[in-house]
């Protein structure tokens, strides 16, 4: 942002002050993530930079903690990763199916009590997680689903659907309903119309809602802490116990992998968002 030549000095000063503040805030946002990166290659067992690392001595760096993460004896990351992925995938599927179908109904102009129902459907997003955790725990305990994968998957479906409902309703708000009417008039049944016409058009919204649901499930710790038994441990639970008890650099290796994963998700989400805006003709 170059300033015009005629800018008065005080506004010039103000402008540079503003740019400095913005730089500081961006630094504050992003820098903490990059501390983990080098430290996860630490050759020593500390969570701070050793003298060798500061001098960029190659011997001070190693892949030791990554090896420990993958091959380490009696370490829980393998099981945790497996559980996390299984739970997140099923929770995402469930949220996407339930949420998309509900969003279709919600965006129909015939829907009665729209406000009230919408409020109910997105309530798991508004209610503080700790309260959701307590309530869901009571239900799962009564239903005999505590400490089972099914219970955790159901819990994550509860937490994930609001995102799908919101993103898909938003996509449907720009949806031209005359195309579905055209399909019906040409003899297509509703299911066929949905699969061939509606779904491809709202797919970006569905997928980005699914991404939200996936990340919510994959990163969820509050509710899982109430529900999980030893068998159902997930990556967030292991990180939580690790951070509370023995802070070992293995956690940083895991964290680095998670940052890479979130970068991938971010890129996908951004591409989808742009595609969706292009499809809906929103070009700002």
């Amino acid at each position: 942002m170059a300033l015009p030549k005629y800018t008065e000095t005080r506004y010039r000063v103000w402008h540079y002050f503003y740019i400095t503040i913005c730089t500081c805030v961006f630094f504050f946002l992003i820098a903490p993530l990059f501390v983990i990166f080098p430290l996860s290659f630490n050759a020593e067992e500390f969570l701070s930079f050793s003298e060798g690392m500061k001098n960029l001595d190659p011997d001070a760096f190693s892949l030791r903690w990554y090896k420990d993460m993958i091959y380490g004896t009696k370490n829980p990351w393998g099981l945790a990763a497996k559980n996390s992925f299984i739970i997140a995938i099923f929770a995402t599927l469930g949220s996407v199916i339930l949420g998309t179908v509900a969003a279709l109904g919600l965006s129909s102009r015939h829907m009665p009590y729209k406000g009230l129902i919408m409020a109910t459907l997105i309530s798991p997003m508004i209610v503080p997680l700790i309260i959701s955790g307590v309530a869901i725990f009571f239900f799962m305990a009564k239903a005999g689903l505590a400490a089972t994968h099914t219970g955790i998957v159901l819990a994550h479906i509860i937490l994930g659907t609001p995102f799908v409902v919101i993103t898909v309703t938003a996509t449907l708000s720009g949806f031209d309903h005359s195309v579905t009417r055209a399909a019906s008039s040409l003899g297509s049944d509703p299911v066929n119309t949905f699969m061939k016409i509606t779904l491809p058009l709202i797919l970006p919204g569905v997928i980005s809602g699914g991404l939200f649901a996936f990340v919510t499930s994959f990163d969820e710790v509050v509710v899982v802490l109430f529900l999980a038994g030893l068998e159902n441990t997930t990556i967030p639970i292991q990180m939580w116990t690790g951070l509370r008890e023995q802070l070992s650099p293995t956690i940083l290796a895991v964290a680095t992998c998670l940052i890479i994963l979130s970068t991938l998700i971010l890129v996908t989400a951004e591409l989808l968002r742009r595609r969706s805006e292009r499809l809906r003709g929103i070009n700002r």
């Binding site: 942002m1 503003y18 913005c22 504050f28 946002l29 903490p32 983990i36 500390f46 969570l47 701070s48 930079f49 339930l98 179908v101 509900a102 279709l104 109904g105 919600l106 015939h110 009665p112 129902i117 109910t120 459907l121 309530s123 798991p124 508004i126 209610v127 503080p128 997680l129 700790i130 309260i131 959701s132 955790g133 307590v134 309530a135 725990f137 009571f138 239900f139 479906i157 509860i158 659907t161 409902v165 919101i166 990340v215 994959f218 990163d219 710790v221 509050v222 802490l225 990180m239 939580w240 951070l243 956690i251 940083l252 964290a255 998670l258 940052i259 979130s262 998700i265 989400a269 700002r284």
Partner: protein, 417 residues
């Protein structure tokens, strides 16, 4: 207005109005059926359990069910003098039944909550009651221990008669019902919950304020920069947003520890001496810093999406009409961003007020919030009804904030990135 004959008919001979209504109803049912699976699922697994929390938090049936005869005969008792023989007899019968079912331990724990000293006299009663003779239970029970002849203890039992209680809620704000039935505060040095509520509000408020102060300039920059630069900078906001909460908390734990990077830096620039590194974690500072960074994207994104819609020509118009840039900003730009400010502040405040993980990890004892207390009672003391009561109090607060916000700004403005 139209007469019977003037009604428009469809080809089937049914009036159009009726036919239309029928079609409308069909559409309504169709739309509702689409929503029904999710609605039903959430009602069963989520909304009803919250109702269950409400039931648990006021539930006090345990003692009521353990001493049914006693409470029945106590109905006639005025509570001024020792109860009649009838009360003693029914208490003896109830108690004997509990001993047979091996539930007398639970009773003594429960009654001990109400008044200290029940545990020992119930134990004694259990031992002696085996040899009780029939009739004249009043004297026999009173002979077991002098406290059984104290009317205070009988009043304590009577206080457990109602099946519902507000006790857990009162405990949540450090109050209780004393023996005269008045609601009073606990002693000054035992008011732990009020401190926690206030601290939760304080931290949520200041985190929201900090987030707002930091998010406003960068959201403005992102909204005014040309696309190719702003997309790049947007990554700085979105990457933390998509990154695991625990990863971000872990990075703050590394940064803020005493041998951590921040302290290293302070020592390097000579701000603090190497041997007096400040404690930045396990206290409020840690909670503030980590929570602000973690919640910042939730403030930036709504602000950005609102600022993006404000045309830059408005500011130019303001300036060309004689306003200085500051006046133009304050009178034109700022009021237009208020919906974004509202949405961002609401989102951050509500998230902050229920925060649990980060305060538990970096907060230490002076940085914990009300959610930590709820989790503590859920997992450690297993006082689930108390945890429910506090959870519902928190929920009521959140809903109140939400309601006020809806009145002031309208909920429709919330956008997700």
């Amino acid at each position: 207005m139209s007469s019977e004959t003037g009604k428009i008919l469809t080809t089937d001979g049914i009036p159009l109005e009726v036919s239309l209504k029928k079609a409308e109803r069909k559409n309504k049912i169709k739309a509702f059926l689409l929503v029904a699976p999710l609605l039903l699922f959430l009602l069963i697994t989520y909304i009803f359990p919250i109702g269950d929390m409400l039931m648990r938090s006021v539930d006090d049936k345990m003692v009521t069910e353990m001493l049914p005869k006693t409470f029945k005969s106590m109905e006639k008792w005025d509570g001024k003098e020792l109860p009649s023989e009838e009360v003693f007899e029914s208490f003896y019968l109830d108690f004997q039944k509990l001993v047979e079912e091996k539930r007398d331990g639970k009773l003594s724990t429960q009654l001990n909550y109400t008044k200290n000293g029940f545990k020992s006299i119930l134990k004694k009663l259990r031992r002696k009651a085996k040899n009780f003779e029939e009739g004249n239970y009043k004297e026999q029970i009173m002979a077991v221990h002098q406290r059984w002849a104290d009317v205070e203890y009988w009043r304590a039992i009577q206080r457990r008669a109602p099946a519902y209680t507000s006790q857990k809620y009162l405990k949540g704000i450090d109050m209780y019902k004393n023996e005269e039935g008045n609601i009073v505060s606990v002693e000054e040095d035992r008011r732990i919950h009020r401190i926690l509520w206030l601290r939760t509000l304080e931290i949520a408020f200041f985190v929201t304020l900090l987030c707002f102060l930091m998010a406003y300039p960068i959201a403005h920059l992102l909204a005014t920069l040309p696309m190719k630069y702003s997309n790049l900078l947007m990554i700085c906001v979105l990457l933390p947003f998509w990154t695991s909460l625990l990863v971000r908390t872990a990075s703050w734990m590394i940064l803020l520890q005493q041998q951590g990077v921040v302290n290293d830096f302070f020592v390097m620039i000579g701000l603090v001496a190497d041997d007096s590194r400040p404690e930045m974690m396990f206290n409020k500072t840690g909670t503030y810093v980590a929570m602000t960074q973690i919640l910042l994207p939730f403030m930036v994104l709504p602000l950005y999406s609102v600022m993006k819609t404000i045309s830059p020509s408005l500011m130019r118009a303001g300036k060309s009409l004689g306003g200085t840039p500051f006046v133009a900003f304050w009178k034109v730009y700022f009021p237009l961003t208020i919906p974004g400010i509202g949405a961002g502040c609401l989102l951050v405040f509500i998230l902050a007020i229920g925060y649990y993980i980060t305060p538990a990890l970096v907060g230490g004892a002076s940085g914990t919030l009300i959610s930590n207390q709820i989790a503590f009672h859920m997992k450690s003391t297993l006082d689930w009804s108390f945890a429910s009561a506090m959870g519902l109090m928190l929920l009521a607060g959140v809903l109140a904030i939400y309601w006020v916000y809806n009145k002031l700004v309208g909920v429709d403005n919330i956008k997700l990135g």
